[in-house]
Every structure is written in C-alpha cells, then in structure tokens.
Amino acid sequence: MSLEKVIFGFFVLLAATLNFGFFIGDISNAALHNEYELFAAVVVNLIATVLKFGDRTQIGAVHLATSLVADLQLIAATLTWVYATQISSSGMTPEATASVVSLSGGALLANLVSVALLVIETTTFHRR
C-alpha cells in the first residue's frame, strides 16, 4: 500500500461523490443543491486534475482527459451560477438552477468514468 495511491484514490473518489451529492435532487429546485457542495466539488476536482499531471502511461492520459472534462463542466456550472446570482436580474430561477445542475451532471459522468478507470487500473495491477 502506498500513500500516493491512497491520496490519489481518495481525491478521485471524493470528486465523484461531492459531484454526485450536488447533482442529486430535483433539478430545478435551488434549495436541494448546496452551493458549498459545488464549491467543494470544484476544488477537489482541480486537485484531482493536478494529481494526474505528468503520468506518462496511456491510462494516465485518459485519467487526465476525464478530469479536464469534469473541470470544464464544473467551472461552466459555477459560471452559470455566478451569472444567475450576480448578473441576471431574476436571480436563481428554476431554469438557472436546472442548467447549473445539469452541467454538474455532465461533470458527474466524467467523474464516474474516472472512478471506473481507477477500478480498472487497480484490478490490472493486482493481476500482475
């Protein structure tokens, strides 16, 4: 067991779980989607991305790609949220909430792929 693997697995999984926690619930109901959870998801996703930097293997490259997709989706969700709360006059309407949450749903998919890759990597490692 190496500490590096623990930290890596921890962040990849945490990124997925936080993402899921924010995503779950009625898509247009702002009360069911906590902004702190979105913030945490963004931060953990960024850290997971940096952890994947510089891995030269093929699976490492796919890992990095999925993380970058998740980052992109989550940052888009955040910007939508900023637009709704700060710039738009109507505030967090059900439509705005729905687009924030659906963007984070896309990120969730990428994060799930990341987790799947992690599992695949782990099992192949055991077989060797």
Binding site: F39, L46, V50, F53, G54, R56, Q86
Partner: protein
C-alpha cells in the same frame, strides 16, 4: 543484437538488420513541467479554497449593521485580487474584525503559495535535466525531419571540425555527436552554410547513435573520428551490427584496433601515422606522383604544394619511438634506409640503432651523428620538444632534410616559421584523406592506382593540369554518361562519344575546354588518364579536373541536345521545334543510331 555480439562473425555474414530498441519515447517536456508542478499547484489550490471558504463562513455586516455573509463569488473575487497583491479594498461592505483577522492570515498564506509555485516553475525551467531533455527533443525532431542524405560524424575535435567545414562547403549535410560540450558549441559559433545538428552524448552507447539518426533512411555513412580508438571501434561495430553495409570510416592510430575494426564488416580505416610513412615512401620513389596526390586531396582552389624532396639515400635520425616512430622507422627500413632512433623509453629493435636517451641533451644529438645524416624527424607527441629538436638539428647540420610532427593545430604558425620540409599534422592528414574519400569516391580510387603508372606519367598529368587549370587546383567532378544524367548525349551514346569531342568548347568547338580527364571507369575497370580518342559508352564514369567554367560548359553539352549537336558534330541546329522544322535542321535523334560520330582531330 545480442546473438551477434556473442561471437565475432566472419566478414560478409552480417545479413540481418538489427534495430536499436529505442528507450520509451520521451514525453513532451510540458508533461515534465506539469509533473514537477504538481505539489505547488495543489498547495495553491488548497490555499485558495481554504481562504475563500473561510471568508464565506465568517459573518460580516452591511452598512446598516445587519449581519450578512459573503457569497462565494465575492469571496473568490476578493481573494483573487488580494492574493495577487492588487488589492481593491474591502467589498461589498467594510470588513468586521473577524473578517480582517482571517484575511490577514490568508494574505500571508497566498503569498507563500505563489512564491512556492513560481519558484518551482523557474527552478524546473533552469534545471539541467530539464534543459537536456529539451535539447534532446529538439535534436530528435531535427533528425526526424531530415530529408537530404546526411553523414553521421562521431567525434568533432580537430579532425572532425576540419572535415566538417570542408564537407559543409561542398553542401553535404552532417549530424554531429561528441562527448565534449565545447566541441558541439563550435557548431553554433563557427560559420557553416547548413544548420548542423549536434548532440552531446557518449557514442559508446548505441542509443546515442540511434538518436543521432543511424537508422534514418537518409543516413549515408558514419565517420568515427574521436581521439579514443576504443570509441571509434565501438562505433564501427555498432554500425556493422545495426546497419550492415552502411559505409563506415574510422580513424585509429593503433594497428591492433584497426585489426579489430576489420573483424566487423568492412569499415574504411584511416591511420594518419601509417599514411605519413606511406607518403614519405611515395615521395622518396615517385616525387611527382606524391605531388599529384597531395595537390588533389587538398581540395578545390588549393595551390600546388611546394614539397621538399626527401633524400633517397643516407641515414635518418628519428626522435620519438612511439606508435608514430615505430611506423615511420618500419617504412624507412622497408626502403632500405638506415635509421637511428632516439627515445628515452625505446626498446631495442633488431636492425635499428637505438639510442636510449633524451634527445634534448646536446650530447645525445651529437652521439646520433647528425652531421653524417641525411634526414631528421622530430616525432614526439610534444610540440615544444619537436620544435626545439628541429632547431638543435638544424644547428648541427643545416643541410638536413627535416620532418616534424605537429600535434596541436594552434601551433601551426610556429611550425610554419620553422620551415619544416615535411610536416605531419595527424588531424589534418586524417581529415584530408577522409574528405578525398567522401567528396569524390572516384578520386580515391584514382589516387590508389595512380602511383603504379610510374612517376613520368604523374609528372605528365601534373604538367597537363597546370596547363589547363593554372596554379590553383580546379574543380574535381564526376560525370556519368547515362540517359538520366546526360540527356543531351542520348542520340550519341549508342555509337559512342569520342572523349576529345566531348571536351570541345560549346562556344567554339575548335577550342578545348580547360579540363583534364583523370580517370575513366567502365564496369568497375578503370583507365587512368584516358586519351582523347577514347570512345565513351553508356554508363561510363569520368573523373575530370578543370576550371569551374569548364564544368558548367560540359553540363551544357551533356544536357542540351542542341549544344551537344554542335559540340559533337559541328552542326548548328536551331533550338526551337518550329524553327527546326522551318529550316529543316533537325537534331540527331536517338533512332538514327547509325549516324557515325566524326572522330576528332585534336583541337
């Protein structure tokens, strides 16, 4: 590669082409930077996250004193400009004490985070390993993009640089590998026509040669010129095993290494010490042949060298009995000359008078009997010793024929001032010979076979060359009579072209071009100094020396049908198709092969 390494295979058995397994393709350098930046970036993200999160938790007050919390957006905005030391002030409301306390802490945190991140980035960029990785990547990419045939030069010391400059002037492309960074730096400092990629690496590692393009299809040959015979041997071996059949030229001064090199394939081995003796013997017996050789290998534009003529009889005194001294003594004795050797570490050799002493002592030189000697060679590996020996020998006997060995190129002016009759510069000698072999392979063959024709033939050729080209050596070039290279001659090749006709001037065919045909090669058989009435056939190869304008005129003759018509037959034919039909003057066609070519009377 391994099975072949286990036992030395006899010559001619290297059929298989082995590949150098490349080490895992280096990841783009940007990934290297990213890997190094992992820790600082995570620290930065964490510091930002904690700061922003804290700001959103700590309650503030609006202008009316109502408690409000900062939103994520405002907190992130505030942290962004605070962390980057821009500082727009406290928004959206003036901070409370608790907020200011938190912000104070975060300011210090973020400054540390930024300093750490930027410091790591700069350290990575200045890192030696990183810069080497970058240089290697650039070099590999350059090699991969090479489309022109190139020579791989291993070892870029004195000999390599001399050769490199000469070949670069000829327009040949080079790739250079050397272990010494200063030698590679000269590629940037010295003027070259082409961009020569250079790599600082140890050529003993086969991967180095692989990276330098040994397996590149455009690699047309390898030249091993390091000052370490062992390395040259390894290079010759590597090439023989990885690219069997690829021409290799290796330099060595040791007969044992030469023998080992020949065990692998058939490399061309150049031993400058050996050549000095060969040249000396050639000069003793056939001075004109030697003069012709040394003029031709000096390259285009060289003045005819003024060479001292060594005495063909009498006793020689050789100082220094290392590898050079041994080789020279052997050559002199093979010519029946008496030799006296002076060396403090010399072992007695039968048939040679050996004085085991330091030649710089006056008594020793007196003991060697310089007064009665004919020749003197200062052949130690120390330039200062050689110079002082020459001076001492001159004093003892002004009539002596003096030979000397110059080890360092920087000392050339000193040796020139001493007016040595016969100077050996090993690096120059190797470079000249390799240049002659590479620039015009036919020239090398000519030089090998020419001495057999005798000294008078050489003197005659020299006279003709001087008459046609003047005091400076003209261009040397090869002409192949083939449909591809000489399309203008196509109708004439079947019956055969008379050499004297071909060398008529396109301006006035009664005039002869200022060119001397040195050699004719047909099916691997050579004719040296072909006469003007020689009939040339298809696929004949000619080695010609002449003035540059003669070369251009000859190119005109062999590529342009109309010019060829005039030069070969004297018929003037219009150049355009219409005018040819109007005037009825149609150039000789390939089908009319029965048309005889008029034999020429000498112009």
């Amino acid at each position: 590669m391994k099975p072949a390494m286990r036992r030395p295979l006899p010559r001619g058995r290297f059929h298989r082409q082995t590949a150098i397994a490349h080490p895992a393709e280096g990841s783009p350098t940007v990934f290297l930077v990213m890997r190094r930046m992992r820790a600082p970036l995570i620290v930065l993200i964490l510091i930002f996250a904690i700061s922003v999160f804290g700001l959103t938790l700590i309650p503030g007050q609006d202008a009316d004193g109502n408690p409000v919390r900062m939103g994520f957006f405002d907190a992130f905005y505030f942290m962004s400009y605070t962390a980057t030391t821009i500082g727009y002030g406290e928004i959206p409301h003036p901070f409370t004490g608790a907020q200011r306390l938190w912000v104070t802490a975060t300011i210090y945190l973020t400054v540390i985070g930024w300093a750490y991140a930027i410091g790591s980035l700069l350290a990575t960029l200045r890192d030696r390993a990183f810069r080497e990785a970058l240089a290697l990547r650039r070099f590999t990419a350059t090699i991969r993009r090479m489309r022109e045939p190139f020579l791989l030069v291993v070892g870029y010391g004195q000999t390599g640089q001399l050769l490199g400059h000469a070949l670069d002037t000829l327009g040949r492309r080079l790739v250079v590998v050397d272990r010494t960074p200063e030698h590679i730096d000269t590629l940037d400092i010295d003027p070259y026509y082409a961009d020569i990629p250079g790599l600082v690496a140890d050529a003993r590692n086969p991967h180095t040669l692989g990276v330098a393009g040994l397996e590149h299809p455009a690699c047309e040959g390898v030249v091993a010129l390091t000052d370490n015979d062992e390395v040259n041997l390894v290079v010759a071996m590597t090439v023989a095993l990885v690219r069997p059949g690829l021409p290799v030229i290796a330099r060595t001064v040791s007969p044992a290494i030469e023998h080992r090199m020949r065990a692998f394939g058939s490399p061309t081995v150049v031993n400058p010490f050996d050549r000095y003796g060969d040249h000396l013997r050639l000069a003793l017996h056939k001075p004109s042949a030697y003069l012709l050789t040394s003029w031709l290998i000096r390259g285009e534009g060289a003045e005819m060298p003024e060479l001292g003529r060594p005495p063909a009889s009498g006793r020689w005194v050789v100082c220094g009995f290392g590898r050079f001294g041994h080789k020279l003594t052997e050559d002199l004795r093979a010519d029946g000359l008496e030799v006296t050797v002076i060396d403090p570490r010399a072992d007695p050799v039968p048939g040679v008078t050996v004085i085991k002493a330091d030649a710089s002592e006056p008594a020793v030189l007196a003991e060697a009997g310089l007064a009665g000697a004919a020749g003197f060679v200062a052949g130690t590996d120390n330039d200062a010793t050689n110079l002082s020996l020459v001076a001492a020998a001159r004093t003892a006997n002004p009539a002596l024929f003096i030979g000397a060995r110059q080890n360092r190129p920087a000392n050339a002016p000193l040796f020139a001032a001493m007016e040595i009759d016969w100077l050996l510069v090993p690096s120059e000698m190797a470079a000249r010979e390799i240049y002659a072999r590479l620039s015009t392979p036919m020239l090398w063959r000519f030089l090998q076979e020419m001495p057999e024709l005798g000294d008078e033939w050489a003197a005659d050729t020299l006279e003709r060359m001087r008459a046609y080209c003047g005091a400076h050596l003209g261009a040397l070039w090869k002409l192949t009579l083939s449909a591809g290279e000489t399309p203008g001659l196509r109708p004439w090749l079947r019956p055969g072209v008379v050499l004297g006709d071909l060398l008529r001037s396109p301006r006035d065919r009664e005039q002869r071009l200022d060119a001397v045909p040195l050699m004719l090669m047909r099916d691997g058989v050579t004719v040296l100094g072909p006469a003007d009435d020689t009939r040339l056939e298809e696929d004949d190869q000619l080695l010609i020396v002449g003035r540059p304008y003669a070369r251009r005129s000859l190119v005109d003759t062999v590529t342009n049908r109309v010019v060829a018509e005039y030069v070969l037959s004297g018929r003037e034919v219009p150049a355009g198709w219409v005018w040819q039909r109007v005037t009825g003057k149609i150039p000789t066609a390939a089908e009319r092969s029965e048309s005889p070519v008029r034999s020429s009377d000498d112009p």
